[in-house]
């Protein structure tokens, strides 16, 4: 819809070490979808006496701006986002249903990548804040959180990259699936309203650890047949590999800059500013 090719990602911007008091933090922007992740820990686990393995605790939140915007689009789409608990965007307080569900998705996607056996009796806390959403915030959160874990110096098996795709049938009659990588909120409905009005189609998200080729998480909403899912997963894996390449490159340049002395950190922060400006 915005002139991209079907297999083209939105422009990605990544910044590292943005939260001063966190062990590690990352900021990821896919055009209008903006996600900030801070990692704290590893620190002592309070909930159990002893555990052989470490634990990953994930807290996923929408900022009040993101929530307000989501509510508005929800109304426009005939209450697709209905059933949300009322109240303003009070960031504090208990999580909303959808935030809790997203927390689970993110933590499951990351758990497999962290060497938890090396962190006995500890917990690593991952805080995700969605600043603005234009589709694909869960996938963005996973990639961003993986970067933040890496920046925190927590031992990983590999970076987890994630990508969401939308699958839909463009024409009536012919059962032929088309898949678009990294859809914005407007595109999530499929092209020309392909998914709306009870037609088949859906959004599929995939989290992949490209180093080992393991898929760590898959989620889906909407109706797809097995053929459609197959096509969607294929495209999502390709997308995740592209995201992974970007993440890897950013992390390497960051490491070089940090190694090059104190000046590096300042440069990063300035970079972050320009990212927000775009």
């Amino acid at each position: 819809m915005d002139g991209r090719a079907y297999n083209q990602l939105r422009p990605v911007f990544i910044d590292l070490n943005t939260v001063s008091h966190a062990s590690g933090s990352a900021y990821l922007e896919m055009e209008h979808t903006k996600v900030l992740v801070a990692v704290y820990g590893p620190k002592a686990r309070q909930d159990v006496e002893f555990s052989d393995e470490g634990k990953l605790r994930c807290d996923f939140r929408y900022s009040p701006f993101a929530l307000r915007a989501r509510r508005q689009t929800g109304k426009e789409k005939g209450g697709r986002e209905g059933g949300r608990e009322g109240g303003g965007g009070g960031g504090g307080g208990p999580q909303r249903d959808e935030e809790r569900a997203a927390s689970r998705t993110v933590s499951q996607a990351l758990e497999a990548s962290v060497q938890l056996a090396k962190l006995p009796k500890s917990v690593v806390e991952v805080f995700v804040l969605v600043l603005q959403t234009d589709g694909g915030e869960v996938g963005a959160a996973i990639s961003c959180a993986s970067l933040a874990l890496a920046e925190a110096g927590i031992e990983l098996f590999g970076l987890v990259a994630s990508c969401e795709v939308v699958a839909f049938m463009p024409s009536e009659g012919k059962r032929e699936w088309r898949v678009r990588v990294d859809p914005s909120a407007a595109e999530e409905g499929g092209e020309e309203g392909g998914r709306e009005g009870g037609k088949e189609g859906g959004v599929v998200g995939l989290a992949l650890m490209p180093v080992s080729g393991e898929v760590t998480q898959v989620w889906q909403k909407g109706r797809l047949d097995s053929h459609g899912i197959e096509r969607a997963l294929e495209m999502a894996a390709d997308g995740a590999r592209m995201v992974h390449a970007l993440m890897r490159r950013r992390l390497l340049t960051y490491m070089e800059q940090e190694g090059g002395g104190e000046g590096g950190g300042e440069g990063e922060r300035r970079g972050g500013g320009e990212g927000m400006e775009r």
């Binding site: 943005t18 939260v19 001063s20 008091h21 966190a22 933090s25 209008h32 903006k34 900030l36 801070a38 704290y40 807290d59 939140r61 900022s63 009040p64 701006f65 993101a66 307000r68 915007a69 303003g88 965007g89 009070g90 960031g91 504090g92 307080g93 806390e125 805080f127 995700v128 804040l129 600043l131 603005q132 959403t133 234009d134 190694g259 104190e262 950190g265 922060r269 500013g273 927000m276 400006e277």
Partner: protein, 287 residues
């Protein structure tokens, strides 16, 4: 490279030291006249202000960075009824969000509420008592419909002087707001005309805030979080960016201060004022 301790390790050592022996830490501060982050007493951290960062979801937005303290502000518009005692005035509400993401001390909801409520109250008082915008400008139909501006402040990273960052980002977000043209239809409902160019909200005043610490007859400008925790005497001052009039002065607790110290504290705000004007000019040059 391997021999020199990393920046994090040095910070850790200082925080260790300051916690175990706060008296020596503070007296070192007196003798060395050098602060933990290498600034001189009156030196402020760099200020960076960005406008329009969340164009997709807000009517006006901004990001304020004071050193490593970052606050994101977004304004949303709502049509509402005016209060009974001010039928021609719109309303401004402020909400502050502090999550454990920005600092681990906000891990409990109680801790979040305690600080966020106090900040909300402070920012709202500054916006309303100092007439930052003419609230008459927010009127649609007198006594019936007015604009209500909800200013949401989201702290992204907390490293001291949080109230300053909150005030600055709220101001910049308000300055970024455009009000759409509206008509009132026959059902007494307000209809927004999307095809007309919206009008920018005019700012009447910019109160520029600064947090100042006072220790052993010394004034420290723009406290970092570590300093806020150790120095009990703190001032929060805001002066008008054009006229230099005093907008607010808050001093809670700590040691007593003589008038001449207060006077030089107010004068210190000129530094932040300069920073702000410079930042604004830079932005205007760009656009």
């Amino acid at each position: 490279m391997a021999d020199t301790p990393s920046r994090g390790a040095v910070e850790e050592m200082i925080s260790f030291y300051s916690r175990f022996d706060p008296a020596t830490y503070l007296s070192d501060l007196e003798t060395a006249c050098r602060r933990q982050d290498g600034r001189s007493n009156k030196q402020l951290r760099p200020l960076k202000l960005l406008q329009g960062v969340l164009q997709k979801s807000t009517a006006g937005s901004s990001l304020a960075k004071i050193g490593d303290t970052k606050v994101l502000a977004g304004v949303s518009l709502q049509v509402g009824q005016p209060g009974e005692d001010s039928p021609e005035k719109g309303e401004i509400g402020v909400e502050v969000n502090l999550l454990p993401l920005c600092h681990p001390k906000f891990s409990s909801i109680q801790a979040q509420q305690e600080e966020s409520k106090a900040l909300e109250n402070f920012v709202q008082s500054v916006l309303l008592r100092c007439n930052v915008v003419r609230r008459e400008d927010l009127c649609i139909v007198e006594g019936r419909h007015v604009w209500k501006l909800n200013v949401d402040l989201q702290c992204l990273s907390h490293d001291g002087s949080l109230a300053d960052a909150c005030v600055l980002s709220a101001l910049l977000a308000l300055a970024d707001v455009t009000l759409p043209v509206t008509i009132v239809d026959t059902d007494e409902k307000v209809v927004v005309l999307h095809d007309r160019p919206p009008r920018r909200l005019e700012m009447a005043r910019f109160p520029i805030p600064l947090t100042i610490g006072f220790h052993a007859d010394m004034l420290l400008g723009d406290l970092s979080l570590a300093e806020e925790e150790r120095i009990p005497t703190r001032l929060r001052i805001a002066v008008d960016c054009e006229t230099g009039q005093l907008c607010t002065l808050q001093k809670l607790g700590g040691v007593s201060m003589a008038s001449e110290h207060l006077d030089s504290a107010v004068a210190l705000c000129g530094a932040r004022q300069k920073q702000f004007l410079l930042e604004r000019d830079l932005r205007q040059d760009k656009s």
